[in-house]
Symmetry: C2
Subunit: 217 residues, 2 copies
């Protein structure tokens, strides 16, 4: 059964692949699962029909037969649990890979979301310029810790896993800030993820939505 | 094998059970799994020995034989997957319960963390008073959406699950702000969670750390 995901009708990042559908597309490409995409407008995202799928009126969602899921973390985990290629077979290594998924979403991403909020929603406020360095420093704390843990390894815990996919998806959101360049090892880690054929296929697919410019949803 | 978790040696919330070890304790109590606790000081949390367990120098961690995990979401999921009682048997319902875990941690908790940051780390800044209403309003958006989805139900998706445990753990962090009282249905939802015998046992255990006042770790 071919799953259907949702993505922005008009990509707010102009096709840089920073929205959360990119993580789900990447996971589906890694495991070789074809999928369909339904594009939704910002207006439609907040309406009851979409909120029935996603209570918080966001993308992506995932529909597969009787199953409807929301939250990119949950969708990627669902895909990773049902296909080979994104989680190790060993039970302990599997639990650790899942821990990196949660760390990406609950420890590393929140200060990055704060930066986006500071820029997009508070960029015109009188405190914006003075406050921004504090927000950036809070991200630097996490990046420094992540860099220390990564060390000389290619991936966070053994082979590439859904934990890396999620962490790289989160770190890519820093690209516009230039902050990632302060940590060459993390920039190289992200580049390793982006060099994967599955990443490239997913990236091209989300870019096509932006460049084709065809309204849908 | 009895797992060992870590918790704050000195609870910064003075025993209100708002730290993330509470979520893990609660999960362990729900499934009836005894556990041991190693208390760590703020200083020790940032040292290499603890960072080997938790790269970001936080609590809780979870050790069980050869397995070491960090991130409360990952630990609760691990417990829920290995014992009955926190996830439905039906595969789709199980995936949806896990989606609520991710929604708690990646959609509902980030603005709540932002409020704590605004108060604890920026409370003395010149912009604090003017900015706080914006932060509160961003939380209200999520609470309104959550309240709409919950409707008249007792729990988020059928029977009580790890998704509810995590969401209630996240919402409890709002208790000091009074914000939860603006949503009586969510306050009642949290109260239903707190009324569970397993919650009470977990709460008493974390409170005992604070009231005993014995230094450790």
């Amino acid at each position: 059964m071919t799953p259907t995901i949702t993505a922005f009708e008009r990509s707010p990042d102009r096709g840089q692949g920073l929205a959360r559908d990119m993580r789900v597309r990447w996971a589906l490409e890694e495991v070789g699962q074809p999928y369909e995409v339904r594009l939704v407008s910002f207006r439609a995202m907040k309406e009851p029909a979409h909120r029935a799928l996603h209570p918080f009126g966001q993308i992506p969602t995932y529909e597969e037969g009787d199953l409807a899921l929301f939250e990119s973390g949950a969708i990627v985990l669902h895909i990773a649990q049902r296909h080979a290629g994104l989680l190790p077979d060993d039970a302990n290594a599997r639990a650790r890979a899942i821990a990196w998924m949660f760390a990406s979403l609950n420890t590393v991403e929140p200060p990055i979301i704060e930066l986006q909020t500071a820029r997009l929603l508070e960029g015109d406020k009188p405190w914006s310029e003075q406050r921004l360095p504090l927000v950036l420093d809070r991200i630097r704390v996490r990046l420094g810790e992540l860099s220390t843990r990564l060390g000389d390894a290619d991936w966070l815990d053994g082979a590439f896993s859904a934990g890396d996919l999620m962490m790289i998806g989160v770190l890519r959101r820093l690209r516009p800030s230039g902050l990632l360049d302060e940590y060459p090892d993390l920039a190289a880690y992200v580049a390793r993820g982006e060099a994967r054929p599955a990443f490239k296929r997913a990236f091209d697919a989300q870019l096509a939505v932006f460049t084709s410019g065809t309204p849908a949803g």
